[in-house]
């Protein structure tokens, strides 16, 4: 294999970090739905927290994605 091949494999491996972000974001929205269905009247007040939590969890996946792009275009 040529050396650049390993670069592309590495870029692909780096983006695997997004799996964690996917699990995290799914967990947050799933838990929100569970809570919201138990007490729908309190759901509206927690929308802000929901998106902040999702954004924070997502940021770590985005870091992995950016690393992948960096390796890809290095």
């Amino acid at each position: 294999m040529e050396p650049t091949t390993y670069k592309y494999i590495g870029a692909g491996l780096a983006t695997l970090g997004m799996i964690g972000a996917g699990i995290g974001v799914g967990n947050i929205f799933g838990s929100f739905l569970t809570g919201a269905l138990r007490n729908p009247s309190a759901a509206a007040s927690q929308i802000g927290n929901l998106f902040v939590g999702a954004a924070l969890a997502e940021a770590l996946g985005i870091l992995a994605f950016v690393l992948g792009i960096l390796i890809f275009s290095a």
Binding site: G48, F51, V52, A55, E58, L63, V66, I69
Partner: protein
Amino acid sequence: MADPLHQFKIEKLVDLPDVTLPGIGTVDLAFTNSHLAMTIAFVAIIAFMSLVTANAKVVPGRLQGVGEQMFGLIDNLTSSIIGHEGRKFMPFVFTIFMFILAMNFLGLVNIPGVFHMFTATSQIAVTATFGVVTIALVLIVGFAKHGLGFFKLFVPGGVPWPLLPVIIPIEFASFLLRPLTLTLRLFGNMMGGHVALKVFAGFVGAAAIGGIGYLGILVGPLSFGMVTALTALEFLVAFLQAFVFAVLTTIYLNDVVNLGHGH
């Protein structure tokens, strides 16, 4: 077929003469497609907000209602998170929110073959500027309000003292990561979304010209539906990322405004 990253290429529309700055070196000045997208976003916001407030009535019409919704969203956000001092920071958060929102939405404007609007927020230089401006304001407000007491930000209240040597470096590192994550979240979301759109659009193109043979009959319509669904999702993401940026800006400001009794 152009590769999916081609759309993020900066092109010079009007080349301006190079300028040599002392200490920095030669700067290549040009009016680029990124610059054009930001200018259009700026003009669109000014036009929209003037139109909304031009003929203000006590009972808002439809257009004024849209403007008031936007304004009320951010006003509610700052005053509910920061408290009674939130009003002071509302103009800053509102400006950032509207500018990012306009750039995100304008990036989705695409008239095939005629004109493709550049997504300014898919450039890390643009989002990094927003991140740096936000954190600079946090630092300025923190030092102006509390002086050296600003460093209490890294010492959360109610922590047993043996844990402090562990907690303080973690808090410090997380503070240093804030501008980085603000920058990369917006950049990564906009860039990732547009790459995904382009990849599926590429599948439709490959199927249409028969590049993948009879499999194209199956792949083409599926990918076309996927592009449509992703475009709808991108509109949601465009709003959500602008909102998340505004919420996080407000939270970071709240940390320094209500230092010591907020968390």
